[in-house]
């Protein structure tokens, strides 16, 4: 009986050592994801639950224009952006990355939830360089700058919950910035 107890204790000790060693090696060697990466990933999660966004867009040198973005059936499933100047942009849900890059950039700037989430996710997946700083957008914000090649997407996130408050985009096709308000979930 005693020998069985010794065997069990030694086995448990070896198993625990393996667990502790494995965990320690991971914790000691692998870097923790930077705060900006985690904030951007959390923003993706939040955006995934939202359907409507209202925004004020500043594209290039053009005057500010208001935008309203909705996700739903129009009649195909996708995202529809209606601008204050009457322009309407639609991206079908199934088209995804194949959509017109200029339209897509407008949708990103307008904070259209699914499109913005997809743009952030793609930059994170591609190993974009991420820089974080403090910013002010009428209220304190966390500025997360995601850079990949010649494209830089800057997210202005609420410090708690990481909901996007605004976006700035610099790409070869479109440059602009926006203030975003998510109407309701």
């Amino acid at each position: 009986m005693r020998s069985l107890a010794v065997t069990g204790l030694v086995a448990a000790a070896v198993g625990t050592c393996a667990l502790a060693a494995g965990w320690s090696v991971e914790a000691a060697v692998l870097p923790r994801p930077p705060r900006g990466d985690r904030a951007a990933a959390d923003a993706v999660v939040d955006l995934d639950h939202r359907r409507f966004a209202a925004s004020t867009l500043y594209v290039g040198d053009a005057p500010a224009v208001r935008g309203r973005c909705a996700r739903g059936w129009f009649p195909a499933r996708g995202t529809l952006l209606t601008l204050g100047n009457g322009a309407r942009f639609f991206e079908a849900a199934r088209t995804g990355a194949a959509a017109d890059p200029v339209v897509r950039a407008e949708l990103v700037l307008a904070g259209c939830p699914r499109v913005l989430a997809s743009a952030i996710a793609r930059l994170l997946q591609d190993g974009a360089s991420v820089h974080t700083s403090r910013a002010w957008l009428g209220r304190p914000a966390l500025a997360v700058r995601l850079g990949r090649g010649s494209t830089v997407l800057t997210l202005y996130l609420a410090p708690r919950g990481f909901l996007p408050l605004g976006v700035a985009l610099n790409s070869p096709l479109v440059s602009g910035r926006s203030r975003i308000r998510y109407v309701h979930r």
């Binding site: 069990g8 086995a11 070896v14 198993g15 393996a18 991971e26 994801p33 990933a41 994170l124």
Partner: protein, 367 residues
Amino acid sequence: MIDVPAVEHLDPFSAAYAWVHRHLWMVGWWLGGRAVVFAAAAASSRSVGALHTWDARWYRIVASNGYLLVPGQQSDPAFFPLYPVLLRVVHAIGIGYAAAGVASANVAFPVALVAFHALTRELLGDAIARRATVYLAIFPLGYVFSMAYPESLVLAAIALAGVSALRGRWGLAAAAAAGAALARPEGVLVTLPLLVAAWQGRSRLTPVRSGVALGSVLAAAGGFAAYPLYLDRVLHDPTAWSRAERAWGRRFTPFGAVRAVQHLPQSFAGDHWVARDVAATVCYLLLLAAAARAGAPRAWLAVGAAIVVLPLFSGSFTSIGRFGLIAPPIFWGLAWLGRNRMADYGLRVASIALLVAATATVPLAFP
């Protein structure tokens, strides 16, 4: 008086020389096989960069930035941590991640060959061990052992755990088993042959040694569990691995294998290369049957079958060709098929030809 034979016996250089001399054939097949892989990769459209494509970028991102789960999107917690840990360590000595990835895999592969040969010799004798090791060195999908992937590392760890257990080196078996499980989820399956070896050797072991032997079984489970615990620490989500897998369309269900077969026409329409994985699955199952005929222990056959069949329950055939590379019985089955000289010669020629073709097409198809 100096005991000359005893001094010679202790001389590490002589011992190493004798060992290398005994294993020159293995060195030859290893170098030959890798030369074929590197030459074919160099001739491909992406040159040797082909060996650092596909999932290699995910391992590089984990090594350089750490884990990050992007829910609903393909993200890196789907990849187990030991290989990125190794990449980061090698990178720390001044080697770029791409070179570190390919170098790590190619350094681990000869270790895998040696451990696999030793394991096979213990279980099935010298003749099968030699043939199986040759086939492993030139296996058609074996180009993966030279890619920035963890397969060579996992095979080395599994074989080392197995042979260490058979030789009663339970501490080493525990370390290798934990390493295997920390490198790929299938590594945890090595628990089965370790458990059998511990049970069969129980009468010869003291209670403490029995504890270490049983501990080697738990070590694999411990290595496996270390990953979700780490994910809980950095991502506050111990299930991040399975959530990330789902974004790749992999979700384990009891009827996943049925789903994989049912969806085969759509999978094939989307990507013709899935036919390669289906063919590999069928070949692997036949080779496992051949390994059973060769007298392979049931525990190892169960490991091989689980490595090949379990991924099907995630609803997809994709990558089973690659997953099977870490199942030792597959190569034992091949060695049994090559037991007469003509068959052996034919298998070697066919393997090399297919290895060239498979390597050259790496830029076209995800392995």
